[in-house]
């Protein structure tokens, strides 16, 4: 049953959307949003790996024998928080670039760099 792999395809579609935004758009803010979508697709990838058929959330309780895998959850929890930290850094860089170049468009920044040389 090849359809049992559909979760990976959803992840790949999302990842490619993020990738496309990253390379096709010149605006730095949009690039950061694209990166974020890319990142979320990896999160979804891990979480779907952790899912077990018929399992419940990994909080121990009486009468439940089958839990989803808690390890991917922990890893992604860490990844989300690190992700927001790096995003904040990226946004701070964008703000600084705006202050110095007066623009967050890639093409305009390149023009200004070329003029200086």
């Amino acid at each position: 049953m090849i359809l049992g792999l559909y979760n990976y395809w959803i992840v790949i579609v999302l990842m490619m959307i993020g990738f496309y935004i990253m390379i096709a758009h010149g605006n730095l803010i949009k690039k950061i949003i694209g990166l974020n979508i890319f990142q979320t697709s990896v999160f979804i990838f891990y979480i779907t790996i952790g899912k077990v058929d018929g399992g419940t959330a990994p909080i121990l309780a009486d009468g439940i024998t089958r839990y989803s895998n808690p390890l991917p959850h922990v890893l992604i929890l860490t990844a989300i928080v690190v992700g927001i930290a790096t995003t904040a850094l990226a946004l701070a860089l964008a703000v600084r670039i705006k202050e110095v170049y007066g623009s967050v468009e890639e093409s305009e920044i390149q023009e200004k760099d070329n003029q200086k040389c």
């Binding site: 758009h25 730095l28 974020n36 959330a57 991917p72 860490t78 989300i80 927001i84 904040a88």
Partner: protein, 280 residues
């Protein structure tokens, strides 16, 4: 879409959808984090950034066909790669057979906390979490260095005057926020201390705290927020947070690896709080 404001709002909604998807996948802790980080903090940070960098994107001059080709090729290869992967939800998949059973069966005896995610995060994989706190701290320092070095005082005054004039118009928003903020803070505390038993914990609580503070700053102006929470205080708190975490680790190692006193949950919110306040 050329209007970045709409783009940011859509990405917030996207994060919220992702969070509800995580609930459907039984990952309640992750969903909680994604909802508070993705839909809350990320959107707020983005909004503050676009107020500084401008709202509209310029039309692209070059054709996107090449980019599209690269993306389609990569996507095709990745889909080809998935053909060897285990099926969705298969209990016999390789990922479920190694360490996870031990966490599920033994963590109650070894840690004594019903929420497996919390016990793994705080105890089995404490090094990861320590590394994460350090990353946040470093990112915080980076953001501070980037934004505060070059900022001239007259810029601040200008931004403040724009802010203040804007805030006076939104009377309803301000009153509603004033009513809501105590509840948000209370909820953050609940999440913090209930993390052992239900979904939640330090990170999420820290993020909710941060959201409340940023909300306050956005609506009442930066100057008011600065009066409530001064920047050196935040810097101090974060450093202390990292130090406590590192210190607890060292102490418990010296005591022969007794991790039961691992109070990681009370240290992380400080770091989260620090991170968010920086970009206001």
């Amino acid at each position: 879409m050329k209007d970045l404001f709409a783009v940011v709002m859509l990405s917030g909604i996207y994060s919220l959808l992702t969070a509800s998807f995580f609930v459907a996948m039984d990952a309640v802790d992750v969903a909680f984090t994604e909802a508070s980080v993705g839909a809350g903090i990320f959107t707020l940070l983005m909004l503050t950034t676009i107020t500084m960098t401008g709202r509209y994107e310029r039309a692209a001059r070059h054709k996107p066909t090449l980019a599209l080709a690269v993306v389609l090729a990569t996507g095709g290869l990745l889909i080809y790669g998935t053909l060897d992967m285990p099926y969705f939800g298969d209990p016999q998949a390789a990922a479920h057979l190694h360490v996870a059973p031990r966490y599920i069966h033994d963590s109650m005896q070894e840690i004594g906390v019903p929420n497996i995610v919390t016990s793994v995060l705080a105890s089995y994989r404490a090094f990861d979490t320590l590394g994460e706190v350090v990353v946040i701290f470093t990112a915080g320092i980076g953001v501070l260095a980037l934004l505060s070095v070059a900022r001239r005082p007259e810029d601040d005054a200008e931004i403040n005057s724009v802010n203040d004039s804007m805030h006076e118009q939104h009377l309803i928003l301000r009153i509603v926020t004033k009513i809501l903020i105590p509840f948000i803070l209370l909820f953050a505390l609940y999440v913090q201390f209930h993390g052992d038993f239900g979904p939640g914990g330090g990170f999420q609580a820290g993020m909710i705290f941060t959201a409340a503070i940023i909300l306050y700053a956005m609506l009442f102006g930066l100057s008011t927020a600065r009066r409530v929470i001064s920047q050196p205080l935040i810097r101090l708190l974060t450093a202390i947070g990292v130090l406590i975490f590192g210190g607890v680790g060292v102490v418990s190692l010296l005591n022969g690896g007794n991790f039961l006193d691992y109070n990681v949950l009370s240290d992380d919110p400080v770091a989260g709080q620090h991170l968010g306040i920086l970009l206001i």
